[in-house]
């Protein structure tokens, strides 16, 4: 469609303004991260990243984050594939009601469940374990994953299943050999989204592991902020370190982020 050049200019101005608005905080923190610390000479201080990494213990906290994310992503995706497969390709009594029960999970706020989770898991001695941080997040992600994959599996042609049946394949083999391979894009999107949610999660990690040894990257950064408010350069470098994995992932897998967050939200 054609638009007048005046309008086109206006459009670029508006887009430019908002792009700048989105970027300025990010650029500010990047610029601060390489700025001199108190009392240092002006110039580009890339060593801030090294120092922040060591002082802030980000090796450890990001390691914890990776472990938690690995547990949550694999478990949540595996469980969601199974459940989504049943909801998406099988007819059974109570499927609608059960599905709505899963949908409910999309609305339950973490803030509401975290109190009993802490006290009940404490009673059974599970706080301060990877399980305590991962399980509540798996539960949330399973609700979304089931919903997401049900839609994906439903859209597959029935003939695929029928062909598999003629080959004599059982449900599990059909899932692994036919259904899952045909759904790789949807699965990738799910992996990306769950990974992002888990990496960025704050409240659950804060409450479920008060002992401090299993601090994830966001918590590590929060503590770092408490200690280095005055050393803004170092603090910003730490913040960049924590944000970087997600930003890099976003730049490479943009399509999946955008598609997941859009379709997941719309349907």
């Amino acid at each position: 469609m054609r638009v007048s050049s005046a309008e086109r200019t206006m459009n670029y101005v508006v887009l430019g303004v908002f792009a700048l608005f989105a970027l300025i905080p990010i650029l500010t923190i990047l610029a601060t991260a390489v700025s001199p610390q108190n009392g240092q000479a002006p110039g580009l201080h890339l060593a801030n990243f090294v120092e922040a990494w060591q002082v802030g213990g980000f090796g450890r906290s990001m390691g914890n984050s990776l472990i938690v994310a690995a547990i949550v992503v694999t478990s949540a995706v595996a469980l969601s594939v199974l459940a989504g497969y049943a909801f998406g390709t099988m007819r059974f009594a109570g499927s609608t009601v059960l599905f709505y029960v899963f949908l409910l999970g999309l609305m339950i706020p973490t803030e509401a469940t975290v109190i009993p989770l802490f006290f009940d898991l404490r009673t059974v001695g599970l706080t301060d374990t990877y399980a305590a941080i991962a399980l509540p997040q798996i539960a949330q992600s399973v609700a979304f994953g089931t919903f997401w994959l049900r839609a994906q599996f439903r859209s597959m042609p029935v003939s695929l299943l029928e062909a598999a049946a003629i080959d004599g394949a059982g449900p599990m083999r059909t899932l692994l050999r036919i259904v899952a391979p045909a759904s790789v894009p949807a699965l990738t999107t799910l992996v990306v989204l769950v990974f992002m949610w888990t990496w960025n999660e704050f409240l659950i990690a804060l409450v479920m592991a008060p002992g401090g040894t299993l601090r994830t990257a966001p918590l590590g950064l929060a503590n770092f902020q408490g200690q280095y408010t005055a050393e803004l350069a170092l603090l910003s470098a730490g913040a960049v370190i924590v944000a970087l994995p997600m930003v890099i992932m976003f730049l490479f897998l943009q399509r999946h982020f955008i598609r997941g967050m859009l379709e997941g939200a719309v349907k």
Partner: protein, 456 residues
């Protein structure tokens, strides 16, 4: 039909869950029972670290500033060299983060072995009540801590086992450093302004006005966290209110009034400083650590605050940075907020209580005091003999000495009631920001204090 079966079965499952789960707390495995943690008797205490086997000791502290951090690291290194079977795993975090997370951490299962706990009723008092700390009386006897420390120092870490009485009862922690709130000043700035360091509060008020007229920001305060203003108000209050009364208010004992004239005058002075811009444009929007960093870069003439800031600021400002105790107050004596650093305690569920006590003993020993002083901190013991001969710490040690011996060290105001840190923090913020009249703020403070002392 099928649908109903499904609903029925979930209802049954849900109901079972409800039944199985008793009322909260009745089955919870947290800490002690109805309050009052316990501790071992002196005879049951193992004081020889080498007999404890291989131990990994988890230590939480908030000694994150330069000098304090150096001192603790040096101490841990020395402790581990002396006791090769003990490995110290240290988690350091800011005062705010430690305070935020201690409540949660102590109610969890994986508690640290050693933990720095604020003396206040809202912190140590509550943890004692919840049975989450170890009574150190037995260790104190075994290690002779009561000979090492004066009664007045130890009393700030004493609570009755039910957490109700503060100042006497069992011992729940040991401090390592000394603290005093006083006035930092830049020597060159005073010179430029043509004034001497104030010898009376009136001179100080005049100095503030003079600085303002000269286009300088007279006072530096970063009060985003709410508690920093208490370290300004504490010394200021002593200019108006008798020390006995302040102590009564701060310890949460009955018999004083926040709403009397002297207190309102003190609050009014704080409000005046706030409204006149003596603290700069927006002290309430400035972070504590950003404020002192700004001060070292040349913002402001005076900074009223804790002695712990000295070494870090001196690292940037050098000889220009000076420190003094506040001028004599209402009683004619020097009186200011201060005392000891946060005491180190042992959680009730600590896995290695004996090793924890050995650590606490070590970091409060005579040699430890020397190490603290060497690293630029101020030890709570042997302060006079370890005093440095130059630098801002010379001023700080002298001020601490003067206040402890010839004046009055006032307790921190947030000690008063379990909620007083929040109440006073918010009230002072509002006074400085002009959102609350001094009299109204006094009412707020009185309401909290009055309610608490009426119950007790």
């Amino acid at each position: 039909m099928r649908r109903r079966t499904f609903l029925g079965s979930t209802a049954v499952a849900g109901g079972l869950g409800l039944l199985a789960a008793c009322a909260p707390g009745s089955d919870s495995g947290s800490g002690g029972s109805d309050g009052g943690g316990s501790g071992p008797a002196a005879g049951d205490v193992e004081t020889d670290p080498s007999a404890m086997g291989d131990v990994t000791l988890k230590v939480w502290d908030q000694e994150v500033r330069g000098a304090q951090n150096d001192a603790i690291e040096a101490l841990i290194k020395a402790f581990q060299e002396d006791n090769p079977n003990i490995t110290v795993e240290r988690v350091s975090q800011s005062f705010d983060d430690l305070q935020q997370q201690t409540g949660l951490a102590l109610s969890g299962n994986d508690v640290p072995d050693v933990l720095q706990v604020n003396n206040a009723r809202g912190d140590m008092g509550e943890f004692v009540k919840a049975g989450q700390l170890t009574d150190l009386s037995g260790y104190a006897e075994a290690y002779g801590w009561e000979d090492r420390f004066s009664d007045s120092v130890l009393s700030k870490a004493r609570y009755s086992a039910d957490g109700v009485t503060f100042g006497e009862g069992s011992l729940w922690g040991l401090p390592q450093t000394g603290e005093v709130c006083g006035i930092y000043y830049s020597a060159t700035k005073l010179e430029t302004l043509g004034v001497e360091p104030p010898t009376s509060w009136d001179e100080l008020f005049a100095l503030v006005e003079a600085a303002q007229k000269a286009g300088e920001q007279p006072l530096v305060l970063g009060n985003l966290e709410q508690w920093p203003a208490l370290h300004v108000f504490g010394p200021l209050q002593a200019n108006f209110v008798p020390t006995d009364e302040i102590t009564t208010l701060a310890m949460g004992n009955a018999g004083a009034e926040w709403t009397d004239d002297p207190n309102i005058q003190a609050l009014t002075q704080l409000a005046d400083w706030g409204s006149s811009g003596a603290f700069g444009d927006s002290p309430n929007g400035l972070a504590y650590d950003t404020a002192w960093a700004d001060y070292t870069k040349g913002t402001g003439v005076l900074l009223i605050g804790g002695s712990w800031l000295g070494p870090d600021m001196e690292a940037v400002m050098g000889d220009d940075l000076r420190f003094m105790a506040p001028p004599a107050g209402a009683d004619g004596k020097v009186a200011t907020t201060g005392g000891t650093g946060l005491p180190f305690g042992i959680p009730a569920k600590a896995a290695n209580a004996d090793a924890a006590a050995a650590y606490i003993d070590y970091i409060t020993s005579d040699t430890a005091m020397e190490l603290i002083a060497d690293n630029g901190g101020m030890p709570v013991l042997r302060t006079a003999e370890l005093a440095p001969t130059s630098g801002v710490n010379k001023d700080i040690y002298e001020a601490f000495d003067a206040v402890s011996n010839d004046g009055v060290l006032l307790p921190y105001l947030d000690y008063a009631t379990p909620s007083f840190a929040d109440t006073a923090g918010a009230a002072l913020q509002e006074v400085i920001g002009g959102q609350a009249e001094p009299a109204a703020a006094a009412e707020t403070l009185q309401a909290d204090y009055g309610e608490f002392t009426a119950e007790a």
